[in-house]
Amino acid sequence: MSSFRYIGKKRRTKEDPRFVSGRGRYVADIALPGMKHVALVASPHAAARIASIRTDAAQAAPGVLCVLTGDEFCANTDSLAIGVDAPKVTRWALARGVVRYAGEWVAAVVADSRALAEDAAELVEVEYEPLPHVIDPEKALGEDAPLVHPAHGSNVLYRRKFVWGPVDEAFAKAADKIAFRAVWGRSSTVPIETFGVAAEWNAGTGILDIWASIQMPKFPDQTARALRLPGNAVRVHHDVDVGGSYGAKRGLKHTVLVGYLAKKLGVPVRLIEDRLENLRGGDMQGPDRFFDMEVAFGRDGIIRAMKIRAVDDVGAYAGRSPLQLGKPVTAICGPYAIPAIEYEPISLMTNKTPQEAVRGFGQSPTNFAIERAIDRVARQLGMDRIELRKKNFIRKDQFPYTIPSGSTYDSGDYHAVLDKALAAIDYPSLVRARDEARRSGRLAGIGISTCLEPSGGNSAFEVLMNPKNENTTWMDSCLVRVDLSGAITGVINNSSSGQGHESLVSTVLGEILERDPASIRVVRADSLAALPSNSPVGSRMAIMLGGAAAGAAKTIKETLVAIAAHNFECSPEDLEYRDGSVGVKGAPSKKFTWDQLVEIAHRKFHKLPSGIEPGLQAKFVWQVPTGGGLPTPEGRIQIYPCYAFEAHIVLVEIDPDTGKPSLRKYVCGHDCGVMINPDIVHGMTYGGIAHGIGAALYEKFSYTEEGQLASGTFMDYLIPSAMEVPALAIVDHCTPSPLTTFGQKGSGEAGYLGAPAAIANAVNDALDPLGAAVDSLPMSHLAIWKAIGGARKKRPLKDAA
C-alpha cells in the first residue's frame, strides 16, 4: 500500500473550499433570465376518480402563465420506464382520470414567482369521487383487495421463488430451526436539499437544456424518451451540485413535467419541491418490507440453510423500485458460508407514495433481517454471538468464493475485521459497562452486526428480474486532456452529490501521471458532450470512474513514452517515465521533460511518431470488471464484482421508564480494500451510520388508515441530529480487490448497511433479560416502551435484572 504517492494519503478534497465559502452551485441557485416557477396541486385522497378539474380561476390569477392537467400532459408525453415486466402500470407526473395516492400531482401551475404559483394552485378546483384503497401490504396481497392498477390485474408486481442449493434437505435434516418475522419500516434518504429542476427550450437549436439535482443512470435518455424527443435534443448539465441524494434523487417525473412546460411555454421553467411536496409527492420514499425468515442449523452452530420471504411495498407506481429486491441476491447469504438458500421476493403495490432507490438499493433491510437471524440462532443455541459469526464466516483462504445465488465474492478477511473492531471498542470492558448498567437498574445491550457492501455494480438484477431486459453493459468513462500549457484536466460525465468525484479523479490521475493532484482540474461534460456513464450508484465510482481515469492516464503516459522513443530513436522499453518526464534508463540527463513532450504533442507534428494523434488526450471506457451476462434458469448470476466488509459494534442504554434509547459507544471495522481518500471514505461511513440510526430508531413515513401521510414535516419524520448520533469510531483494514486498478472496492453504503442491524441487535440484547423482543423498525421510544411494559406485566424489572 505504501507504494502509492497520493492514493490513501490524507488530502484535502477539491470540492470543500467552494462549499464552505457559500459558492456551491445548486439547482435552486441557477437563475435563468425570464424564468417561471411551478407549484403543484396534490390529491387529498389515497384513491379516487377525478370527476372534473376547473382551472379558470387559477388561470386568471395574477402572474399565471399556465395551468396544466393530466389530460393534456399524458396525451403528449410517454409513460416513465417501469423496472419490471408490468407494462400496464403506467406512470406520469400528473394524474389522468384517477389518483392512486394522497399527494399525487393532479395539476401544475406556472407563474411569475413560486408564491404566485402557490396562490393560484389553491384556486384549482378538483372534484373527486373516492375509490376503495389499500394501505396495509398484507391486505394488498389478499384476493379481494382493491387494485391499485386494475389494468395490471393484481397488486403484485413481481414474485418468484429462487431455490439455490438443497434447501429442503437441509431443513429436513437440521438439528434445530428458527422462524421469525422482521419488519423494516418505510423510511428513505431524505436529503436536506429537496429535488429541483430547471429547463429551457431553445426553438432555434431544438435543444432542451436541463439543470437538475439528479443522481440517476440513463437520466438524459429516459427524459428524452418520455418527452418523445431524440436523445440529442436533451442536454443535461452535470455541473450542478446536488445537495445530497444517497440514491433517491431520481426526479424523472419532475423533469419530464418541467421539460414539457418549458417547451410548451417557450420560457425557462423551474420546479423546486417544498418539503411537503418532497416527502409526500416527490416519489422518493424507501423500502417498506417484512421478512419471513427461517434458518436451519446444527448444534455446532453451523448454519445449513436459510429461507427468506421478502414482501416489499413499493407504493402506487413502479420505477426501478421493485429491483431493490434484486440487488440482495448478490450477497444473499451475507458474509456467511451458507450452502443452501431459498429467496422469495414479492414486490407489491399499495396506495402510498412510490418508492425510490435508497442507499444500498435494498441491501440494508435484507442485512437487518439476516443479522437478526444470526443473533436469534445464537440465542436459541445459547452460543456467543461472536463465536457463532466466526464459525459461519467465509474464511480468508476460501476467496474467491461463489455463493449459492451465483455471485463470486472477490476477497475479504472477515475474521480480522471483526477482531479489529472488538479490540478497538475494548469488548471485555464494553461487556462490563453493559453489565454495570444493568446492575444499576438500567436496560443496556450490546449489538453486533456484520455486512457486505457489494460495489461496482453491473445492475444485473435488471436482467434477473425482467427477462425482456437484456442490459448487461454497465460502463463508466473518463476523458483526460493535457493542454498546451501542460495542465491536466479530467472530464467526467455525471453530477455528484457529495461523493468527492473531483478528488477521486484528480488523485488517480496524479498517481498514474506522477503530477500533483492539486494542479489537476476535473470538470463535468454535459450529456451531449459526455462519454458513457451510469452515474454514481451502487458504490461504483472508486472502482468504475477510478478505473476509467486510471486507464485514460495510462494511455497518456504511453503516448508520452512513444513520443520520447521516436525522438530518441530507441525502443520504449529503454525509457523510463518519472514525474512526467521520460528519460533513458541509466542515463538520467538524457530526457524529455513534461513541457517538451506536451509541446511536441500539440505543436510539432514533424516530431510526432506516426499513429499518434496530435494534441494530447485519451479516453477510456470501462465495463464492470466481472463483465456482464444473463442468469441461469435457476436465477444464478454474477451481479456486483467487489465486496467490501464491515463489522459494527454498539452499546445502547434504554431508559426503562420512557423507552428512550441512547447510543453510548459505536465502532465500525471497515474494509473497502485500498482507500483512495480516507477522509472521504470515513465521512460517508459516519454519515451512513447516522442514516442507519435514523432507520433503526426514528424515521418513518407513517400512514393513517385513510392513506394520509402522517409524517410530512421534520417534526414527524425525525432525522437524527448531533444529539442522537454519538461519537463514532472507524477502524480500517485493507484486503485489496484483485479485480481493480489499485485494489480499491466501493464505499459509501457500509455505514447504512450495518448500523440498523447492529442497533436492533443491541436493543434486543437490552430487552433480553426482560424476555422482550422488538423486530420491527423503527424501534421508536413508544415501541420499546410498549415492549418493556408488556414484559413487566409478566415479570417485574427488578427480578429480571
Binding site: G500, D679, I719, V725
Partner: protein
C-alpha cells in the same frame, strides 16, 4: 395577498442594503433571490433543518421563519460574510476543509453559522457543547463526526494564536 411594499434597511455582511419588499417575503428568499446571496440554503421552510441559518446581530436564526421586514434595522451575516476581510477562509471554514466536515455541502453554510456563533460566545467549547450548538442543524452526509472535529480544531487554532 396585499401588493403593498415596505421599505427596509438591513446591514448584510457589513453593507447597508435598502429595499422595498412585500410583507410576506421571507428573509431567506430576499437574501437568495434579490441579493443573490445563494450560499444560504432552503431545506425545510419550517425551522427544523437549519440550512437557512444566518446571524442576526450575532445570534443564529432561521431565515426561513423570518420575514424580511422583521430584519429591518438589524445586522445580518450570511456564509458569504464569514471569510476574513482579505477574502481568505476563516479559521472555522479552513478547519471544515481540513477535517472534511462536509460532503454535499448543502447544510454546510448553516453549520458554519451555528458553529461560528458558538465560538464567538465560547472559544473553548466541550464536545457536548458543540453537539448542542449544532443540534438544530441537520446533516445527512457526515454523521456530524467530522463537523465536531472541525469545530474542535478551529477552537484549538484560535486559542493557539
Amino acid at each position: 395577498m396585499s401588493d403593498t411594499l415596505h421599505a427596509v434597511a438591513i446591514e448584510v455582511n457589513g453593507k447597508r442594503r435598502e429595499a422595498r419588499v412585500p410583507a410576506r417575503l421571507s428573509l431567506v428568499d430576499w437574501l437568495r433571490e434579490e441579493l443573490r446571496l445563494t450560499g444560504t440554503h432552503v431545506g425545510c421552510e419550517h425551522g427544523i433543518c437549519g440550512a437557512c441559518s444566518v446571524l442576526l446581530d450575532g445570534d443564529p436564526v432561521r431565515s426561513c421563519l423570518m420575514y424580511t421586514v422583521q430584519a429591518h434595522g438589524h445586522r445580518v451575516t450570511t456564509v458569504e460574510g464569514l471569510a476574513r476581510p482579505d477574502g481568505s477562509m476563516s479559521a472555522l471554514q479552513d478547519s471544515f476543509c481540513e477535517t472534511h466536515a462536509l460532503q454535499c455541502g448543502y447544510c454546510t453554510p448553516g453549520m458554519l453559522i451555528a458553529a461560528q456563533a458558538l465560538l464567538d460566545s465560547n472559544p473553548d467549547p466541550t464536545e457536548a457543547q458543540i453537539r448542542e450548538a449544532i443540534g438544530g442543524n441537520l446533516c445527512r452526509c457526515t454523521g456530524y463526526q467530522q463537523i465536531v472535529e472541525a469545530v474542535q480544531l478551529a477552537a484549538e487554532r484560535t486559542k493557539a494564536k
